[in-house]
């Protein structure tokens, strides 16, 4: 940066001198441009000969252009390229849904992820040039702020350095670059594996980037290589992948156990002959996790009260695959997608109603790449709409100071901010508080990207940071609309010893206290 600034200052001074010496040399009296004219007036008073003045004027003119053109030659090789690259990067930014990832064509033997620069697309590499070094991504990243080795800014800049070092060589050899003499290994030397696994895919970095850089697709592509080609990933994830592969859920309970949460509620397992309004898609967490089962049961009671005709897939439901995809296991993800699309297409429903923002994003934005196009609603959207249409009424007051946490995949990822807030504001006696970092700046709970199952080896726990941030507003309840967030906050509240001071509730539970 200093170099660019100094060059600009020098050029500016030179330009004034060119004007001044020029006017003086040609003996022109002018009052405009101001500085040049004033300099000219001064020079004409010094008694220097026209010839001298004009020589100096011409020399400075040439110097000006040498510096200017020299800078233009140098800039692409330096950080000063970013102004040139930012503009095309912004124009060419992705128009697909924010939290959706691009599929890999595994059948055609498309390379399984990115292990070298050549494996990235040209748009991904353009991002590296467009980075303005501002560091906003770093200041928003939960991994970085909690002491993990990952910094989104360093990721982009290290990759860019690597590109500048290796790029020419790669181009010369075209696609036949052998990995025998790679110089530095992209995964390992340039970017360490710890950095790759530290990401929770919360998208805070992408949200604040002024030039629309995409950090996450590079991280996921590197994960795709590590998981699929080398099978090298945190060991804690082996049982999770295994469970999804063998049993169809992250808990390893089996698809037959998917109705046990619903004992005694009269929940219907979808039948092919019936037309439903909603197909309730629970997700693995809300089916098997003891704490979340309570929320699922409340949701069913509310749906029954409101009179929505719904069914669950029950034994036909398998993990949506979001976790596998964010971890880079695209192969497993695509297996789950085909399984689920086959199951979903057997039944007749108007929309899929989800409880989990991750399932919501995956079913809505990612299944369509594989032939599964469905209308998908998160329950906040449904209840927000019903509340506006006065079809649900919050009769009973709930006297609580509730702070609402926007889940990454619901808020920032799907831009659903208002419906849950409208619901909370519509409940009598409820005092709605907001985090300092709220809506699109919401701070991740730390469970995304597979982190619910991974050990947090370094730094502070991400969810501890968020709970302590909540306590600054002095609430008595943290309310959220995502199973991961709920579990992480409950755990942090316990670890921080705040159980007496604060409760953790899902929005459904708050609603069920207020609804008739």
């Amino acid at each position: 940066m200093p170099l660019l600034f100094s060059v600009m200052v020098i050029l500016m001074v030179l330009y004034y001198c060119i004007e001044g010496f020029g006017y003086a040399g040609y003996n022109v009296s002018a009052s405009y441009p101001f500085i040049g004219a004033a300099l000219a007036k001064f020079l004409m008073g010094t008694g220097m000969s026209s010839a001298t003045l004009l020589t100096i004027h011409n020399s400075l003119w040439w110097l000006n252009y040498v510096i200017l053109l020299g800078a233009l030659v140098y800039a692409p090789r330096s950080e000063h390229l970013h102004p040139l690259a930012s503009f095309p990067n912004m124009v060419l930014k992705s128009l697909s849904p924010k939290a959706a990832l691009k599929p890999l064509n595994l059948e055609e033997g498309e390379l399984f992820g990115a292990a070298r620069l050549q494996d990235f697309t040209w748009k991904q590499l353009l991002d590296l040039y467009a980075c303005t070094w501002c560091g906003r991504c770093q200041d928003a990243c939960p991994a970085h702020l909690s002491g993990k080795p990952l910094s989104p800014r360093e990721l982009i800049l290290n990759l860019k350095e690597h590109l500048l070092d290796e790029g020419l060589r790669v181009l010369e050899a075209r696609s036949e670059v052998s990995l025998a003499n790679p110089g530095k290994a992209m995964i390992g030397d340039v970017i360490t594996e710890d950095e790759i696994w530290a990401c929770t895919t919360c998208r805070a970095c992408q949200e604040v980037c002024p030039v629309y850089n995409e950090h996450i697709d590079k991280i996921v592509d590197m994960r795709r290589y590590l998981v699929q080609v080398e099978a090298k990933f945190p060991e804690e994830m082996i049982p999770v992948f295994r469970n999804v592969e063998v049993y169809g859920d992250t808990f390893g309970m089996g698809q037959s156990s998917r109705l046990e949460w619903a004992h005694g509620l009269g929940v219907e397992e979808a039948s092919e002959k019936v037309q439903y309004d909603a197909l309730l898609w629970l997700g693995c967490e809300d089916t098997f996790n003891d704490r979340r089962m309570q929320v699922s049961r409340e949701l069913v009671k509310i749906l029954q009260k409101v009179g929505i005709k719904f069914a669950v897939l029950g034994r036909n439901e398998a993990c949506c695959g979001d976790l596998a995809r964010r971890m880079g296991n695209e192969y497993l993800f695509q297996e789950m997608v085909s399984k689920n699309i086959e199951a979903l297409n057997k039944f007749n429903f108007k929309y899929i109603l989800t409880m989990c923002p991750h399932c919501y994003n995956t079913l809505k934005n990612e299944y369509k790449h594989f032939g599964g196009e469905y209308e998908v609603l998160h329950y906040t959207e449904l209840f927000g709409r019903l509340f506006e249409e006065k079809k649900i009424e919050f009769v009973y007051p709930v006297g609580a100071k509730v702070i609402y946490h926007d889940p990454c995949y619901l808020g920032r990822g799907s831009e659903i901010y208002e419906p849950p807030r409208n619901i909370l504001k519509g409940i009598k006696g409820l005092d709605l508080l907001e985090f300092g970092r709220y809506q699109k700046n919401s701070f991740c709970c730390g469970a995304g990207g597979g982190h619910k199952w991974m050990h947090e080896a370094a730094g502070t726990r991400v969810s501890d940071i968020r709970v302590e941030e909540a306590m600054e507003e002095a609430p008595d309840t943290i309310c959220t609309t995502c199973p991961y967030c709920l579990e992480m906050f409950e755990d942090s509240v316990r670890t921080l010893g705040l159980e007496d001071k604060i409760k953790t509730l899902d929005l459904i539970e708050v609603m069920s206290h207020a609804i008739k």
Binding site: L106, F112, Q228, V229, E230, A231, F233, E235, I238, F241, R242, E245, V246, Y247, M253, G254, Q255, S256, S257, L259, E260, H263, G264, R315, Y331
Partner: protein, 294 residues
Amino acid sequence: MNIIVCLKQIVLVYSRTGRDAQQNYISPEDQIRIVNPNDEWALEMTLQLKEQLGDTRVDLVTAGPMIAEESFRRCLAMGGDQAFHLDVSESEISEPWRTAGILAQFIKTREYNLILCGERSLDDEKGCVGPFLAELLGFPFVGSVVEVDAKAVENKLRVYRRLERGDREVIEVPLPSLLAFYKGTQVARYSTVPSKIAARAKPIEKVVIRDSKLDESIKKLAGILKLGRVSSPSPRPKWIFTPDPSLPPHERIRLILSKEGGKGAGKIVKESPEESARKLLEFLEGSDLISLEG
């Protein structure tokens, strides 16, 4: 070195969603078909041995109907040079010494220095195939193995056998031998996508066990074992009551404890929480399960 790992395909039922009491409320979808986990850990140990030793051949064999092919191929994706399927009917693997006989017939046709199998399977949990197979082949046998070190001793294996409370017995075993594997610190490796894709297409060699009558070696055992009849598996002589799984838990417990359900054993405590806790403690002490001080 040539190693063969014996993998059993099993069917587990975690949750029952059927409606037919005669089927014990198990519906076909409730069946979870996998390769026995102990056998998978044995395979992982074998692959680690291969990494220790280098020039090693690892074969996989499974006996009986191919009921868990996807899981078997997942094992193949972990590693392994060739897979064999001894295509016999379910009745022929209904008793451990019969399974051992079939495996022995096959293994004798090839050269193996080391055989590994899981210690016991999750469905029957008899744990007998290993010892029977070792006897039929005349191999030394060690059970409950958690670790195998092939480099410590020349031409022998240093084998760690699990005892109680974390103790280990260290045994030096000559080759050829048979080890029944429990679980050590090994984690069944996750296979790469290219391996998975290759394993899907890899041929599993079907081996015909022509002689479905008993092998000569098994007849030898008969002199010691006093074989009775050979018949297809008979139904369980005792009917065990299974309550309808769609009922809530307290109903199911009530049914099990009542005369219509089972033996009518057990008692439901209905007093206040404090009184119930006291009664429960009395019961536990009376059954010698705990001792209360003072």
